[in-house]
Amino acid sequence: MSTPLIRNERFVQIAAPLLVGVLVLLLWQISVMAFDVPKYLVPSPVDIAESLVTDFSSLFGALLMTLKVTFLAFVISVIAGVAASLLFVQSKWIEVSLFPYAVLMQVTPVVAIAPLIIIWVDDTTWALTICAVIVAIFPIISNTTLGLRSVDPNLLSMFRMYRTSRWQELVRLRIPGALPYFFGGLRISSGLALIGAVVAEFVAGTGGAKAGLAYMILQSGYNLQIPKMFAALILITLTGIILFAAMVWMSDRALRNWHESALKVEH
């Protein structure tokens, strides 16, 4: 006998939030129409959809630019963050000496240092990428370091009984054990890379060929093209959701056989 759709966990996971979204959009559309709200104050979902179609070429170009900065920042954050974590676990002294500077980067608002970076770095793409890296790198460093340090002490004792090298200890024990923490860091960092890219674009206010979605939002605001503003905002949100979903998928693939976070519990 086939299982009713309502009992299918996967179906419910997708359908339930989708239904809420559709209801909200409907309510929004009806409210705007009922109260005759002007487009330049609150556009209706239909106005936004129209803008997505009519302004597609400019919005798509801006999206690509934002995506480029986001991905560059995310990849650099992952590589540099993991490298820093590996360095930190080599010695408590290294960690104690350098970790406060990682915290410093995290607590300094990117909007405060972005103008400096934009002055110092000629290439706009790289200037924006550096700003986004500053925002996105900390969760990777923090989570991965925590994971590399959270080793089962008995397993560590066993490795030491066999007089293993630090390399063996790292590769066979610390790195596999740190994977759940690392993927947790990835989930946060992917979203922060996007936020960092958008915030940096706002500060840089870059137009022309290097205009990102943030510039589109600024420009549309100045021109009272509020539907286009919302359309750019939706693209940013969708990008964030897709990035997060990709990280969840990767994490599940990597951990599904052994880690509680990715295991399917059967009742």
């Binding site: 089962d152 066993m158 009984m161 007089r163 056989n257 052994w258 880690h259 295991l263």
Partner: protein, 290 residues
């Protein structure tokens, strides 16, 4: 010692065997482990061990028994070379720790929990010590196969630890200790978290494996019954500070069948050990009250 061509699964019922007295073997064997006047004081000032002295000879099964916090596990870890002593000496095969790992001087440790790598399949977990020693020959694969067969986990080598029961995980942990063909096996309350039936079964398995592989075993436990059933000697410890207060010989030859558990002789030994344990607990309390 485990041999590559001799495999006897654990599951069949024990065959009748010729009785041998451990006491006789002990008299002629050399010491594998000598702990002399060992004190262990932690950085916070806690005295975990005071003047611990113990000699373990080849072929012996020595249980360390005592109340919680009496330093049993600390002593066992020191025996494994996993903990520094504050004062005193420890000798392995009458030499320094450097000798551990060389031929005829192999040591393995079974922890309180199975301590398996959750991300690795059973086979990879069992062959871990061989990987760490860079043993990648076909013979090492056979050692893993033999160890899995001996502990009754053949067919589960591609499972993940989470897919096994607590007892099976502990068997995998014992198989991991076996692959290195240890001469001295240190077990830190390995069956403490298991139900009584599984525990009794694993007790029989350990005795069988000990006989087949010629292991010398030091075993930490909280259970008087387990200590008496398994051991040739029960070393009773007292707490605060942790110290050895009694060393009771269980003069019952191996192999020991489950019938031993219901014999009057067993009850007698249990009473003797329990009384020693009560005295040891009283010592700890009176010290504390002072």
């Amino acid at each position: 010692m485990m041999t590559a061509n001799k495999v006897t699964p654990l599951n069949p019922a024990p065959e009748p065997e010729t009785e041998t007295s451990d006491a006789e073997a002990r008299a002629s064997s050399r010491p594998l482990l000598q702990v002399e006047g060992v004190d262990k004081v932690y950085a916070n000032g806690t005295v975990a061990l005071k003047g611990a002295a113990l000699t373990v000879k080849q072929g012996e099964f020595v249980s360390l028994l005592g109340p919680s916090g009496c330093g049993k596990s600390t002593l066992l870890r020191i025996m494994a070379g996993l903990g520094e002593v504050t004062t005193g000496t420890v000798k392995w095969w009458e030499q320094d720790y450097d000798v551990v790992g060389s031929k005829g001087c192999k040591l393995a440790f079974v922890f309180q929990n199975a301590t398996l790598m959750p991300w690795a399949r059973v086979r990879k977990n069992v062959r871990l010590p061989l990987d760490l020693e860079h043993e990648n020959s076909a013979e090492s694969e056979k050692k893993v196969d033999d160890a899995l067969e001996m502990v009754g986990l053949k067919g589960f080598d591609e499972s993940f630890p989470r897919e096994l029961s607590g007892g099976m995980q502990m068997r995998a942990s014992i198989a991991r200790a076996m692959v290195t063909e240890p001469d001295l096996l240190l077990m830190d309350e390995p069956f403490g978290a298991l139900d009584e039936m599984t525990r009794n079964k694993l007790n029989d398995d350990v005795l069988k494996l000990k006989k087949e592989n010629g292991w010398t075993i030091v075993f930490v436990t909280h259970s008087v019954y387990e200590a008496v059933y398994l051991s040739s000697r029960v070393v009773v410890m007292a707490a605060r500070p942790g110290r050895i207060v009694d060393d009771i010989k269980i003069d019952k030859p191996y192999p020991r069948s489950p019938d031993f558990r219901i014999s009057t002789e067993f009850a007698g030994y249990c009473r003797q050990v329990s009384q020693a344990l009560e005295r040891a607990s009283g010592m700890g309390e009176s010290k504390e009250n002072c």
